[in-house]
Symmetry: C2
Subunit: 148 residues, 2 copies
Amino acid sequence: MADRLPQLELGNQLCFALYSASRASIRAYGPLLAELGLTYPQYLTMLVLWEASEPLTVGDIGARLHLDSGTLTPLLKRLEDLGLADRTRDRADERRVLVSLTERGRALRADAAGIPERIFRRYGLDIAAAQRLVRELTEITGALTRPL
Amino acid sequence: MADRLPQLELGNQLCFALYSASRASIRAYGPLLAELGLTYPQYLTMLVLWEASEPLTVGDIGARLHLDSGTLTPLLKRLEDLGLADRTRDRADERRVLVSLTERGRALRADAAGIPERIFRRYGLDIAAAQRLVRELTEITGALTRPL
DNA sequence: CGCAATAATGTTGTGCACAATCTAACCGAA
DNA sequence: TTCGGTTAGATTGTGCACAACATTATTGCG
């Protein structure tokens, strides 16, 4: 039997499955991130900064997270208020803002290190299955992000 | 080689892959939904209402979409303002609010019918792969939603 | 050089999400 | 019957997302 074309049924819709799973995972992370005083998008931003050896511009962070300045500017100001990051205009190009971690921001990495594992254990997720899923999702994201 | 435990790397994180893919799909739907004058969560709510033969309570809709009244109450008022839905207190239980479609709301279903297919064609998504993915994502959502 | 085009970030306004709290309505046992 | 507990929905406040636009800085071309 041929695969049916996508129907107007909630249960069959890939977009709804993605939307539900994403929000469920954010809710799952919530309590653990609250221990660090972070929201979920703030945590993602810290991941980007922890991985970078150099200060990043707002645009660099936005490119990795697919977020624009309208979202990032206030978020980064909150990270600054928390004492986790610094924002300084780039002397060499005054249009840019360089975001770097404070000592406190770097130190927080150790506290965050166990979070993914705690989530996987707590909810009994399979690591190999998750890695496969990550690959498929990355591909979907790429397809949907491609310019038409 | 054993599968590694989840690391603090953006690219390996299931939660980020879900978050990115969900937002990418919402962005992809955006222009098509704008033709109908709907946002993405409004579209999901309309899907639920189109599938139901009876009026649904706010709680019914929330159970299907995993949304609470704090999100749904204003959203449903907007659908009411658009002339797509009616909200009336249940005479039999004055705590409840019954949400039903207007004639215009029902008529909009025909305009929405082609949207999933247009998305799949436009972005070259594979239907069979998507259906497999929906099953895996539904399972993940279930696992993450399970009470501890 | 002069200046139009471009680039990076910031601002504004709308609409979710969700936690916390509130209010009104229902239910059930003493 | 009444009153304590529960339920359904609304409200409030915070923080994203994102479109549209504003601002300032840089760049490249004539």
